[in-house]
């Protein structure tokens, strides 16, 4: 790990996305949770944003002056946990 990495504040633990990167994206006009996810993959990793989503929302609120209430949640879809695909086998088609 390099020295600069160590001094970074990581927001998305899965995809290694830093606070500085998120602030930069917001400045570029990516001002929703979804837009930041698309731009930086924050929240797109294995945990699907379950750990960082609130942190990202807070940074957006802070940077854009919006209230937390105004920051839209992305669509919630199944699965809420990783589901091994073999579990779908043997179903009636």
């Amino acid at each position: 790990m390099t020295e600069t990495n160590k001094k970074e504040v990581i927001i998305c633990r899965c995809e290694d996305v830093s606070e500085a990167e998120i602030k930069q994206a917001i400045a570029e006009g990516f001002t929703t949770i979804n837009a930041i996810k698309k731009r930086l993959r924050a929240g797109m990793g294995l945990c699907q944003g379950r750990t960082c989503q609130k942190l990202v929302a807070r940074i957006i609120a802070q940077e854009t002056g919006k209230s937390m209430e105004e920051i839209l949640l992305p669509t919630t879809r199944p699965p809420v946990r990783p589901i091994v695909m073999g579990a779908f086998e043997g179903e009636d088609k």
């Binding site: 970074e8 633990r13 294995l46 945990c47 379950r50 750990t51 946990r81």
Partner: protein, 108 residues
């Protein structure tokens, strides 16, 4: 460190069965039923993987299978959430580097 005695929960059952697993080649003992992460914690292993993008160490964070930070390669299979996967006799546990690697492309 295993907590063998506890003021409220009492002593760990002496009869509890132990299993042996191999962590990056080193053999360690664990109680049957314990998650892999707990077995590693008990012997002081904290770094479980290295991230793909910035090569940072990661370990246990949420402890309940939600954050996926504790994943390792187990028996050759990457992305195993060690905090919710119980140990088994002879299990091979490896630090996951980035996305991990296949020993060979799985076929069947």
């Amino acid at each position: 460190m295993n907590i063998l005695d506890h003021p409220i929960l009492g002593k760990v059952e002496a009869a509890k069965r132990k299993v042996t697993l191999f962590v990056n080649g080193r053999s360690i003992e664990a109680y049957e039923g314990q998650p892999i992460a707990a077995a590693l914690m008990a012997v002081g292993i904290k770094s479980f993987r290295q991230t793909a993008r910035k090569q940072q160490d990661r370990g246990i964070f949420c402890g309940i299978g939600r954050c996926t930070d504790c994943m390792m390669t187990v028996n050759g299979e990457p992305n195993v959430r060690t905090c919710v996967t119980p140990v088994a006799e002879g299990m091979i546990v490896e630090t996951q580097i980035g996305l991990g690697s296949w020993r060979e492309i799985p076929h069947e």
